[in-house]
């Protein structure tokens, strides 16, 4: 009898401890809960730590410099490695590291070595270049496997061209990219979110410019 009481008390205790552990875990997850297919907040680690904060924010490079297809077609596109080389054939490491090397060379009175940052090495690898930026026959050029952040289902056809030419800013859908170290999905990108914007701009226009944003299903679904 006593044993049984003890045993049930033990079980209760065990379950309570378990509950004490799981409830906070579940509660913390509850904030991030969203409906199936909604990837808001998705921020995968990219194969190459290229910073939008640095390029688009500090250096003020236009979005279309790297994603130029956005004004010509459906996809914005990812920059080819050759495009990166327009700058990175001379910029091979962050400024701080280059300055430090300059200092060190001056102190030691030795010739300045070219420093190649580990992240940019990945870029040069993709082009099949060695550390002196010469073609290395042992390396095979290969694309950098970027991870897509903004994914739409296959049955939705979004066209960048129409939005760029209507004057919609990139940040409107992609969030404050110029402040992000790695790209994160800020908006919901759900159909309701799209349609609400289309309804709004038909009333108010884009930056005051009147536009005709289609509300037909077949504007996106075909």
């Amino acid at each position: 009898m006593r044993n049984r009481v003890m045993r049930s008390r033990l079980t209760t205790l065990f379950l309570l401890v378990g509950l004490a552990f799981t409830v906070p875990m579940l509660l913390s997850r509850l904030g991030g809960y969203h409906l199936p297919g909604n990837q808001q907040g998705y921020e995968p680690k990219q194969p190459l730590a290229s910073s939008h904060r640095l390029h688009a924010g500090d250096l003020q490079i236009s979005c279309l410099y790297c994603h130029g297809a956005a004004e010509k077609g459906r996809h914005a596109g990812f920059p080819a490695s050759s495009l990166c080389m327009n700058c990175h054939k001379s910029v091979t490491a962050p400024l701080g590291a280059v300055r430090a090397e300059d200092e060190l060379a001056k102190q030691e009175n030795s010739p300045v070595k070219q420093i190649v940052s580990p992240e940019l090495t990945k870029l040069y690898d993709s082009l099949g270049l060695d550390e002196k930026l010469q073609r290395d026959p042992k390396k095979t050029p290969a694309s950098i496997p970027w991870i897509r952040v903004h994914n739409l289902p296959a049955f939705a056809c979004f066209d960048h061209r129409a939005h760029v030419h209507a004057g919609v800013s990139c940040q409107h859908c992609h969030g404050p990219v110029e402040t992000m170290e790695t790209i994160r999905q800020v908006e919901r990108l759900s159909m309701g979110w799209c349609v609400n914007c289309h309804r709004d701009v038909n009333q108010k226009g884009v930056h005051g410019k009147p536009v005709r944003a289609s509300l037909d299903c077949a504007a996106c679904h075909y």
Binding site: G73, A80, L83, P145, N151, R161, A162
Partner: protein
């Protein structure tokens, strides 16, 4: 209803005879019974399972999506913008017509082939076969490496072997033969000449499986030069065809269809319309368009001599035809045809498809009498589209049987399959010491060859072509070969000792031979770049001809061989989709219903319903056809309009290439195989051909037909999606609605305007005016000849799946666009029929009946008048399909196989691949509308008329389909809608379709118009 309207068209014999089974099926809401198992799970179980599944799916759906990679280019090619298509000019090489085409490439891969509007011959048309050929590029079962004795080898080993053996043969003076089909490439012809010039005993034999050798031989005799004339149908006011299916499969159907249409454009007043009489035994696509169709047996072509003697009399030429037997056609009819021809001297054309040289000689004589040479028949710039010489083929077969050939190179030809006498030929070929087969796939000939030297797909190699003398076109690669193939040009160059690339060889040939013949450019590089860009150039090259006509060669064909009363004559013919069978690997073409019989995935024996009734044969009964020792067993097909003593069997089936279709179609419990007992699709009828008397004969004069007692259900789509209403359901007198409306040239000239149906009381308030664009289509039934290029074009553009034979039998074919073929017997002599083709697709109704019944609003109207189908909303109730009066909606019964990652490269990335349980239908190529709209917006230009071309419209050889904005009064479609010939199908339902049809026009006296009232 208009006075001119015929209302007596029917689609199938079952419908014509009001077969009770057919009526029962047509009246049912769903064609198949819906399986409800009384012992299955109860409603409670169902709800429990649904609840569990929903909860489970919600939990599963909350996990992050799988990582999707995006791989950019390493080095950005200048011209490629992701998501945008590029078009390259090229040349179709799928048959010997050599039409011009544009290759639509997306992200570096070809996804769609379209006609090149700037090509002087094909003028923007491309047939079903040409359009389907893009699938062959992504075919896993191509031969990708050279084979030696059936095992994979390397080019080095194969080349060394071949060169050593060829040197040996050269030393001993052995016989070297090259066997090929018609070669349009002047560079390749030159290369073959060079290759053969190194041997003492060498010959190039050209074997066309669909031969026109007799025409060339006849011209050799009458004009002293072996050539195939270039027929100019657009100049002809009277066309008389003798067994020549020039709109379907004969010589250059795309070109002829356009030219024929031009001659019947109905422009001006009186309307321009040629008069066309067709003498034939089976019902061909061409016969279906004829104003006067006369049924004659293959052996009765003495009719041509009757015509000749009548014309000779009118011309005052003495031409004796003693002993000419009486024709089976009344003399008055022949007089009428002769009168028409005589009145249109120099503006008429007599075409003969016979393989009998004597017939062709008489045909030449008739054209000569009428002064058609130099007018509608061009000999100066002849056609090079058939160069076959059957006498040479016959000689080669004899040489092979005698073992006199030391080396045989088979270039892109499959004689084991296309020639009669398979066993003897195979045995003879096995005795050839050096047998090299250069082909794309492992076909019947490759199986006996010692060396197989694969060539790349036409879209992955350089090539050139000269279909008409002086008209040169180029084919450029748009894709790298997937394996280790090598072009025939390069292979021959390697074996001749000079290893250069195909591009170099072609460039050198063009620089030496074609560049000097033109005056447009004076620098070769610029000339070449322009030629590559345009895909085609015209030069002044032509033949010098003797002006004489050798009268003494003409002998009247007096014999009239008719089979005995109980037996039959036999005609073997190519089908529009499969031609000579080299495309049997292509599932799109296998599933394409034949324009006339509407059967897919099989061949059969066509016989007239009268003959079938007499013998007690029902459709699908397997019969044995025996002729001269050879026999085949095939299911019977009842073909209205066919001569009662004729059997007709399609060629191109029963090929080794079709053995791949074992797994095609959905895999489920009740699935039945697409393949026959022989492991192939259909049965090869080539053993019934005869290669004798210097020509390959497609017609046999005496065949025996016996029943086997077995039956084989055909996958025929003619009773599917029937628009007609069974009598017991229809309001009085409306059981057969006038789907097809027609008129005559005389009626048009009189300015007889049909009444449009009165606007009826409308249930719907007009509260959704379409103010911007309103997309609409006009289909000219007078132009449409049923060629089905649009059906395949739509299939490629819109990712329409292939379902396999069994599913077609179950009425589950997925084609968004079908061509309804109707027959009518009214006003015809017994057994003869009139035929009408009607492309039927979603009509994008203003008051769409489908939209009102969808419970989830998955099909709704757009602001531009389109009837949209939203796949992600659709839950698959199929209510819409049942409520659609036009029966144009298709349901995805399965997730049709998309397992082949290589083949998926052909999918159009602009169109969603639909999943199981979703309804789909024609979208008016909304992806093309969107692309054109967005592009015009990007460029800040208004959307021009013609900027949006639907896939079906773009490549229509006859220009039958027009698409555009109905709200703009200046567009082509708006102009055509105002045409007096315009009508809408089922207008009385007041669905207000956006698709309009233009009436069929027959060039007949008005008194002969049928179906009054």
């Amino acid at each position: 209803m208009s006075e001119e309207t015929a209302n007596s068209y029917w689609k199938s014999l079952e419908e014509c005879t009001a077969d009770s089974e057919f009526l029962e099926t047509a009246s049912r809401e769903f064609t198949e019974p819906i399986a409800v198992d009384p012992h299955g799970p109860s409603r409670r179980d169902f709800l429990a399972l649904t609840g569990f599944a929903l909860a489970g799916l919600t939990v599963a759906g909350c996990t992050p999506a799988p990582e999707r990679q995006a791989l950019p280019f390493v080095t950005q090619p200048e011209e490629i913008v992701p998501g945008r298509s590029l078009h390259y000019a090229s040349t179709c090489q799928e048959c010997s017509a050599g039409c011009g085409m544009l290759v639509k490439c997306r992200d570096g891969r070809p996804i769609k082939l379209e006609g090149n509007p700037e090509h002087a011959m094909s003028r923007g048309g491309l047939c079903a076969v040409g359009q389907a050929s893009v699938l062959g590029l992504y075919d896993r079962l191509r031969v990708q490496r050279p084979l030696k004795d059936g095992r994979e080898s390397t080019w080095r080993e194969v080349d060394d072997d071949i060169r050593t053996q060829l040197d040996e043969i050269r030393r001993h003076g052995g016989a070297v033969r090259v066997l090929s089909g018609t070669i349009l490439s002047p560079t390749l012809r030159d290369q073959i000449r060079r290759f053969l010039s190194r041997f003492a005993d060498a010959r190039h034999v050209v074997h066309d499986p669909l031969s026109a050798s007799a025409i060339l031989t006849a011209h050799e005799r009458t004009h002293g030069i072996r050539l195939l004339p270039h027929y100019r149908l657009e100049r002809a006011e009277v066309v008389v065809g003798f067994d020549a299916d020039f709109l379907g499969t004969w010589i250059s159907p795309v070109e002829f269809a356009r030219a024929y249409q031009e001659g019947r454009s109905l422009d001006g007043n009186p309307p321009r319309c040629s008069w066309h009489a067709q003498f034939e035994g089976r019902l061909s696509v061409t016969g279906a368009k004829a104003d006067e169709r006369l049924r004659v047996l293959p052996g009765e072509m003495g009719i041509l001599s009757h015509l000749a003697s009548r014309l000779a009399r009118r011309a005052g030429v003495s031409w004796d035809a003693p002993g000419l037997e009486d024709a089976s056609i009344p003399g008055s009819v022949l007089d009428r045809v002769a009168d028409r021809l005589w009145q249109a001297r120099g503006r008429g054309l007599v075409l003969c498809g016979s393989q009998d040289v004597d017939q062709q000689l008489v045909c030449n004589f008739v054209n000569h009498l009428l002064g058609n040479y130099g007018a509608t028949i061009d000999l100066e710039k002849p056609s090079l589209q058939k160069q076959g010489n059957d006498a040479e083929v016959e000689r080669l077969v004899q040489e092979l049987k005698d073992g006199r050939v030391a080396a045989l190179l088979v270039l892109d030809s499959n004689p084991v399959y296309t020639l009669p006498g398979v066993q003897e030929l195979t045995a003879a070929l096995q005795r050839v010491p050096l047998l090299i087969d250069c082909s794309e796939r492992f076909d019947e000939t490759a199986a006996v060859a010692k060396y197989v030297c694969p060539r790349p797909h036409a879209l992955a190699s350089w090539n050139d072509a000269e279909p008409i003398r002086g008209l040169f076109s180029l084919a450029q690669p748009t894709f790298a070969p997937l394996g280790h193939e090598r072009t025939i040009l390069e292979s021959l160059a390697t074996w001749s000792g000079g290893g250069r690339s195909a591009r170099q060889l072609i460039q050198e040939f063009w620089q030496a031979n074609i560049f000097p013949q033109q005056t447009r450019e004076n620098q070769f590089q610029r000339f070449w770049d322009q030629a590559v860009h345009d895909g085609v150039i015209e030069t002044s090259i032509h033949e010098e001809l003797p002006r004489s006509f050798a009268m003494d060669q003409i002998r009247p064909v007096i014999r009239s061989e008719r089979p005995a009363e109980a037996s039959f004559a036999l005609a073997l013919y190519p089908k529009v989709g499969l031609l000579d069978g080299r495309h049997a690997y292509n599932p799109w073409l296998q599933e394409l219903p034949d324009p006339i019989t509407k059967v897919a995935w099989d061949n059969y024996v066509c016989l007239s319903p009268t003959a079938a009734n007499r013998l007690g044969i029902r459709e699908g009964d397997v019969v044995r056809v025996e002729v001269g020792g050879a026999s085949v067993e095939l299911p019977a097909y009842l073909q209205p309009g066919q001569h009662d003593q004729l059997l007709a069997i399609p060629l191109g089936y029963g090929s080794k290439l079709s053995e791949r279709f074992g797994n095609i179609g959905p895999n489920w419990l009740e699935a039945r195989l697409t393949l026959n007992e022989n492991g192939q699709v259909g049965i090869n009828a080539a053993p019934l051909l005869i290669l004798a008397g210097n020509s390959l004969q497609y017609q046999r004069l005496s065949a025996r037909l016996t029943r086997t007692g077995r039956s084989h259900p055909l996958a025929s789509t003619q009773t599917h999606q029937s628009i007609s209403v069974p009598a017991h359901l229809a309001p009085a007198g409306e059981a057969r609605r006038p789907m097809i409306q027609e008129t005559t040239v005389a009626g048009l000239a009189r300015g007889h305007r049909p009444e449009h149906p009165e606007p009826q009381a409308d249930l719907w308030p007009n509260d959704h005016p379409v103010t911007g664009h309103r997309w609409g289509m006009v289909i000219d039934l007078n132009a449409c000849n049923g060629c089905s290029a649009c059906v395949v074009g739509c299939q490629v553009e819109n990712n329409v799946p292939v379902v396999g034979k069994d599913e077609v039998r179950r009425q589950r074919e997925m084609h968004w666009l079908r061509i309804d073929r109707y027959y009518s017997e009214e006003g015809r002599t017994s057994g003869d029929v009139d035929v009408a083709f009607q492309p039927m697709l979603c009509q994008h109704c203003g008051n769409a009946p489908c939209e009102t019944v969808c419970p989830v609003l998955a099909t709704v109207h757009s602001s531009e008048g389109l009837n949209q189908q939203v796949y992600n909303r659709c839950v698959g109730t199929r209510y819409c399909a049942n409520n659609c009066p036009y029966k144009v909606r298709r349901f995805n019964w399965f997730a049709y196989s998309r397992d082949d990652a290589l083949q998926n490269l052909v999918l159009n990335p602009d169109v969603t691949v639909r999943s199981r349980g979703v309804m789909e239908k024609c979208s008016f190529c909304i992806q093309r509308i969107q692309e054109a709209k967005l592009e015009s917006r990007r460029l800040g230009l208004p959307l021009a008329d013609g900027a949006v071309q639907t896939a079906c419209q773009q490549s229509c050889p006859a220009r039958a389909i027009h698409f555009g904005d109905l709200n703009d009064p200046n567009t082509e479609v708006s102009r055509l809608v105002r045409d007096g010939r315009r009508y809408q199908v089922l207008a009385e339902l007041n669905a207000q379709p956006a698709v309009n049809y233009l009436k069929l026009v027959r060039n007949r006296p008005e008194g002969e118009v049928r179906g009054h009232g």
